[in-house]
Structure formats: C-alpha cells, structure tokens
Symmetry: C2
Subunit: 323 residues, 2 copies
Amino acid sequence: MTHFNITAIGNAIVDVLAKVDETFISNNNLQKGGMTLIDEDQAEAIYSNMPPAIEKSGGSAANTVAGLVSLGGSAAFIGKVKNDQLGAIFTHDLKSLGVHYTTTPSQNGLSTARCLISVTSDAQRTMATFLGATKEITKNDIDEEIIENSQVIYLEGYLWDEQNAKDAMREAVRLALKHGREIALSLSDSFCVTRHRTEFLELIKNSVDIVFANEAEVTELFNNSNVIESAKELSKICKVAAITLGSQGSLIISDDGVYVIEAGKNLNVVDTTGAGDLYASGFLFGYTQGYSLDECGRIATIAASEIIQHMGARPEVSLADLK
Amino acid sequence: MTHFNITAIGNAIVDVLAKVDETFISNNNLQKGGMTLIDEDQAEAIYSNMPPAIEKSGGSAANTVAGLVSLGGSAAFIGKVKNDQLGAIFTHDLKSLGVHYTTTPSQNGLSTARCLISVTSDAQRTMATFLGATKEITKNDIDEEIIENSQVIYLEGYLWDEQNAKDAMREAVRLALKHGREIALSLSDSFCVTRHRTEFLELIKNSVDIVFANEAEVTELFNNSNVIESAKELSKICKVAAITLGSQGSLIISDDGVYVIEAGKNLNVVDTTGAGDLYASGFLFGYTQGYSLDECGRIATIAASEIIQHMGARPEVSLADLK
C-alpha cells in the first residue's frame, strides 16, 4: 500500500456558506464564532432563513488533508457520507486532489452532513452542523492497513460528539499505538472541549503526540483563562502543543522550547472558516517532512493565511506554490 | 397576485465550477467558450476528471432574475428541478432572494440539472450541461396568472433544445400575447442558434420585442460575419436588439437610434460565467422602470461587470448598491 504522511479521521461534511448580517446570528439562536449541533428540522429552518449560498466541501479534518495534499504531501481520509448528491460532491472534492478515500458510503438513513456557515462582515464564521450520515461511522470503517502505512493519525475532536464515531476514534488510536504511529488531535471548538474535557485530557495524556488548539479551546481545557499558562500545561502532557492565536499568530511548545510564530501580514480577511484546519495542514506537512518546528509554524501560517482570504475552507490555489 | 417586472422561463441548473488548465478542455472534448449538452454518463466522466469544485445555483434565465431582484426589481421564475438535494439548493437560492418560484419539482426520473463549468486562466468559461429534470417541464407548468401579472416574459433560448420545454415556451408566448405582455429572448449560445436558426428567426419576427445576443450569436443568426450588419438586421425584426461585445462593451439598437455602451473599466476579470445573463438583468431592470435605453445599457454593464469579477453567475453583493 502507498505510504501516507497523514491519515485523518473526521466528519465528512459539505459546507453551505453565506454572508449574513449580525442579526441573522441572534435571530437563529446561534453562538457567534462557535459550532452548534442541529437536527435535520433545525437545518431546514435555519437554511430557509439564509440568503443565497454557495456549497463547498468542508469538514475540519477533511479540510486539513486537502491542504496537506495541496502542499505536496500524501494523505488518506476516513469519514462517512451517504450515497446521495452531497456525498458525491464531498467524495469528488477529496479524490480529485489525490486523497485516498475509500470509506463505504451509507445506503440508508440520514443524508450527508452539512454545515450551515454564516459569515458576518467581520469575517467571523458561525457554524450550525447537521451531522447526518457522519453518525453512521463505526470502528469497522477504520482500516488497519491505512493506519499502519501512515506517519501520523490525525483525529478531529468534533467526532467525540457521537458514540459510534468515538468508538471509531478509539479504534484508530489503538491501531496507531499498535503500529507505533504518532497521533495528532484537534480540539475543534471550545464548546466541544466543554462537552468532553475529561475524556480529551485522558486521551492526550495517554496517547496523543501533537495537539492543535486555539486560545478558547486550550483555556477551556484547563479551566484557566491565561492562555500562556494553559498552553504550558498542555505541553506537559503531549509532545507538541500548537496554539493558534488568530491575528496574534501562534505558539508552538515542545521539549525543544517555545516558538512564537508571527501571523500573516497585509491579509484581506474575508472568511475565517478553516483557519485552524489549514494551520494543521501546514504544520503536519512540515512535521512529516522532518522540518524544524519553527519551519512547520511558518508553513502553517501560509496555509491558514490563504484560506481566510476567500469564502470556504478548501484552498483555491496550489499551496505548494506559496510555501 | 403580486405584479412582477419580469417572469423568466429557463433551465433550473446548479453550476459546478472549477478552475482548469487549457488541456482539460481538449482532453474532455469540450468546445471552449461554448455549451455542450451531455448525458448523465458523460457528466459523471467529465466530473471525475475535474479538480475540486464549488457548487452555486445557475441557469441562464434564473441568473437573470437573481440579478434583476438584486437590483431592486421583482420577478418570477418557471423551471423544473427534481425533488433532490441539488433541487433544494436551486430552489433555496432563488426563493431566498424573494423570487416567486412555484414550479412543482419532478418526483421521479432524472436528477436536477447541473452544468459543469470549466474556467481557464483567461477567465473564459466552457460549459457541459446535463439537462436532467429540466426536460420534465411541460406547458402545464406555465401559470397564466403569473404571465398576466408580468411586464416582460423572458425566454431562454437554451430551452429550444427539448421538445417539452419548447412547447412550454410556445405556451408562454401565446399567453403573453393574449395578455399584451412584452416578450424578451436570449439567444443563449451560438451553437444553440445553429441548432434552431429558422425557429428563432420566426419566433422573433412574430412575437419577440427584445432580443439579447452576443457577437457570435447574432452573426450566426444571420449567417453574416459582420456584427454591425447582423445587429441591424436583427433590429429590423424586433423592437430592441441588445448586442453584447465582451470587452468592447455593447450596442443597443431600436427605432430610437443606436446606443453604443462602453464596457466596465479596470475590472479584475476572474470568470465570465453569467456575463450575458447579468447584462440582461440590468437592461430589463432599467427597461421595466421606464429608463432610457442608454441608461438601461449603463445598468446592464454594471451588473455584468460585478459578475465577471468572481466565480459563478449569481451576484455576491447587492447590485442595487452599485447602480
């Protein structure tokens, strides 16, 4: 089998993106800047209130592999769509990049997941996610041969919201440890951290090498509003802690030391959807090439800077040309 | 019933847009700059070769009503989707603009139409269209009350490619004439003109007030490579001939005289998809407000200039703010 720099396990989602007024967020009971889980009826109700939208493949970990491959890396993805039109779109958009994606689509039940993304004029994105077919993933979808042939297994924290998905993640962790592979985890969202704090801490301590978090997520994880203290706490229980700080840049902490990475400059920020996902793309590309952590942070910043300058969370140009 | 500035009858299509190399066009046997009709198997084959794409509602006449409403006008649309995910997207994107759209979706048969749009680095768009459910339209879908309450009935030339759709168009023409409404026609595509030259000429002579065409279409209609001569020929058989000339601007010819309209200046042209459709939006907005033909041309140019500066054929900002 081909060798992969990373295999990512995450929710297979098509994004529905629209520019909205601030009032849209409050009128639809959304948490600005956060991710709210919704059922199909809520999805219909919010969608019917949305302005005209565009559809673009998304999903946090799937965005990360799309970015990594655009940088020149190799990747596999594990996540569940239904055998429907949106599932075909999601599948096409990954496979056409050269991502190895063979998870069997579900034939019945809920439709392919979609994330309604409301982008306000401050470029902030607010998400409402109907998980749909992603809930059908089981540990049988975790292909041992793929895990064995990957340098790093990348886990999306969002998957902790569903028992089946959590079981699949635990299976991926078991297989990664069995084959001596490294494990990376994205904390995904501060509300997601609130929901799963204890399990995340236990998982990180026992199994995870690299953790990606933003300020809200890492402070929530340690219930400590000081981001530097929280980041240091995190670095004590994993190998590398990569903390994104929005327009302030990012921090990478490991036994080697603390690296302060500057943010991109002179950016025309349009939509922050996918900023964290693409930071992980760049970091993991550099990491799996054996680059220094400083260099990993530099490439991470380039990838994140591209994604926030247009609508949607998949690169619009070859990231390899930017690094 | 509400009064509408225009009612448009056209193919209900979701666009699948991707940036491609020139070789993609030849490798997939597409006519650069044109529109090729394809079946579902060909759509699958071409799509599988396409890079990652975005999905955005399209359809020539539907784009025109979206633009007209964005300018502040009122519109209805008649066109057929299937009751599937892409049909729901198309319907949402029109209704959320305030367009009156009540055509019953088909429940069985082919899926909602999609147009695979390949955008090359010269911003030219090449289209391959799977007509799908649009073929299910019949004359029963033409609502007399809507026609009666519309100032102008706008017909998309592309619909001449299917017998059912053509019958529906002829019914719309009959009802428009019965109620003394004006009729506008877009010639759509030069290959479409080749296929239907005789019928288009007959239709224009007998029923059409306003004709929209680009250089390739009007010269093809009269089999005369001189665009000025062809435009004058056209103006003899209708009330207003609006001829778009790409970066050269446009010509509007009527009994009142000939108006030469300058093209937009300092444009960052990204994707010409929808340029003609949005020209018609602006023209018909002005026309139904009773503006001078010169002013209609000016607004048409503003609308077309917005659409070619981003991917896709639906406005990304309120056009009312630009006029």
